[in-house]
Amino acid sequence: MSVILESRQLRKTFGAVTAAADINVSIEADTVVGLIGSNGAGKTTFLNMVTGYLKPSSGSIRFDGRDITALGPRQITRLGICRSFQIPQLFDTLSVSDNLLVGVGIVASAGKNWANAASTQGTPSDAVETMLERFGLQPYREMAAGTLPEGVRKLLDIAMAMVVRPRILLLDEPTSGVSAEEKFTLMDLVMDAVRAQKVTVLFVEHDMEVVTRYTHRVLAFSEGRIIADGEPTTVLNDAEVRKYIIGETFHAKRRGGHAQA
């Protein structure tokens, strides 16, 4: 598989604190990669550097062979790297369908300036309908986003990232704040949508059941470094990962088989 995202010697410091230290990683296209680590381990910092929210102190990030280290969030989104947020970032006074229509409109207005715009099919309302259907949001279409329950807000947040035609989707704790019963339903919907659009996924997650079930590969972060990288069962059974991140009581075994490509 071809490498779609690559970081070399990526480093981010905040004064005396090193949030990311020499991160070297290559992500293959069409894979689902989980980022795990305790709070402050550098997962979200890595995500923020890839999406242009934070500028690295040193090192480089390449997307599809192009250096994107110096680009801002808007330019990176236009190239095809989109993200969702730990706390859903919605347009609260707009309806669910209008939230999605904003994204469809942005892609349509950008035209040839949008790297993945060619994958858009049909009218703007078709694109909105497809996304509402994929994420099971039809019952909420006319509701203001600010009035939605948390699980639905999470789904809409991810749908808003998907509606702008990403090639890589970065999810920041997609199941945080979602009930234990809802988390697999949410992830199943997201993964079905991701497969339908052939999107590479990186997601930060603290729930190891979700990580085991949905990823092809896991990157374990600790103190700004990647301490383990490999298949989920291998990484989650790694001695250092068990000691510093997940604890000794968790036993990783693949369930459900959703991660198979």
């Binding site: 989104t77 919605l90 707009l94 904003v102 994204g103 950008a110």
Partner: protein
């Protein structure tokens, strides 16, 4: 259908105004002309408010537009209405495009106060410029309209009213179309969540810049039309109380539709005229009471009376 309904209503109102205006007394026609001028300015304010920005300095462009139109005669001997309006649009577009480079970086009270500061700078400059009449201002004359001589004719007042109404209609339809376009829809998205807009690939700064320039052009047009309607301009047009009136009408109107600013401006102007006529010493109290009632019972503005749900319908 909702989109077209607004255009149909606007067209019916325009047609009714053009047909019935000749039968109205002069003072009523003048009141409607002034309300339309204010309505055009507030239409621009509405565009900014939808983007999440409140300008306390739109008197800047209102006055700039008026002076851009009015100074053509003393400077170049031009008294053609189309050229005067074109001059107002060009000057306001140019000045706002430059000022927006700074203003688009500010939000909330900082944006409001900075825009107020710019308007007061213009006020200060005009007050000190004796060649433009200083605090007294000067008279503005329109002699031709698209080459046809209108000055001193029996239909002069009606023609100015008709042109104002027609321009108001064009502005309202264009802004309505814009607000329902992909780019126009970004205004409310920016008001709700700028971060998300950037992460969806759109430029918040560029959209605010564009909306600010459009808003300034509308304010300039309103000012120029007011100048030719009243026939006199002075620096008070840039004073902070004038900008305050535009904010007042914006709150009174609500931002639910492009029709709202014209409704709000008509009611504002009617209350002011009647209160001034019947209670010349306390007319401000009548306006204050009206505002108090609107804020208490119609926090979404007068337009919320016409909406069935909480969402912006038109």
């Amino acid at each position: 259908m909702k989109r077209e309904r607004t255009v149909v209503i606007l067209t019916i109102v325009l047609a009714a105004m053009l047909v019935f205006a000749p039968f109205l007394p002069n003072w009523t026609m003048f009141l409607f002309t002034v309300a339309l001028c204010y309505g055009i300015v507030v239409l621009g304010m509405m565009l900014l408010i939808r983007t999440g920005l409140v300008s306390f300095g739109h008197g800047l462009y209102y006055c700039l537009g008026a002076y851009a139109a009015g100074t053509l005669e003393p400077l170049f001997g031009i008294t053609e209405l189309a050229v005067m309006l074109g001059s107002a649009v060009a000057i306001c577009a140019g000045v706002s495009a430059i000022l927006a480079l700074l203003l688009r970086r500010y939000r909330d009270i900082f944006f409001a106060m900075l825009s107020l500061a710019f308007s007061m700078i213009l006020y200060g400059l005009l007050v000190k410029t004796s060649s433009l009449g200083s605090t007294d201002g000067f008279n503005v004359t329109v002699k031709t309209m698209l080459g046809v001589h209108i000055a001193g004719t029996a239909y002069e007042r009606y023609l100015i009213f008709a042109v104002t109404a027609l321009i108001a209609w064009v502005c309202a339809v264009l802004i309505h179309r814009y607000l329902n376009s992909h780019r126009g829809r970004l205004a409310e998205a920016i008001r709700d969540n700028e971060l998300r807009v950037e992460y969806m690939g759109a430029s918040v700064a560029n959209t605010i810049h564009l909306n600010y320039v459009m808003s300034a052009i509308l304010a300039g047009l309103g000012g120029a039309l007011m100048a030719v309607s009243v026939g006199h301009i002075d620096p008070e047009m840039a004073y902070w109380t004038t900008s305050g009136e535009f904010v007042f009408i914006s709150i009174l109107s609500g931002t639910g539709s492009v029709l709202a600013p014209f409704l709000g401006a008509t009611i504002f102007e009617s209350i002011r005229s009647f209160a001034y006529e019947y209670s010349p010493n306390t007319w401000q109290m009548a306006l204050g009471a009206a505002m108090l009632l609107v804020i208490m019972f119609l926090p979404g503005g007068l337009w919320s009376l016409f909406r069935r749900s909480g969402r912006s319908a038109m």
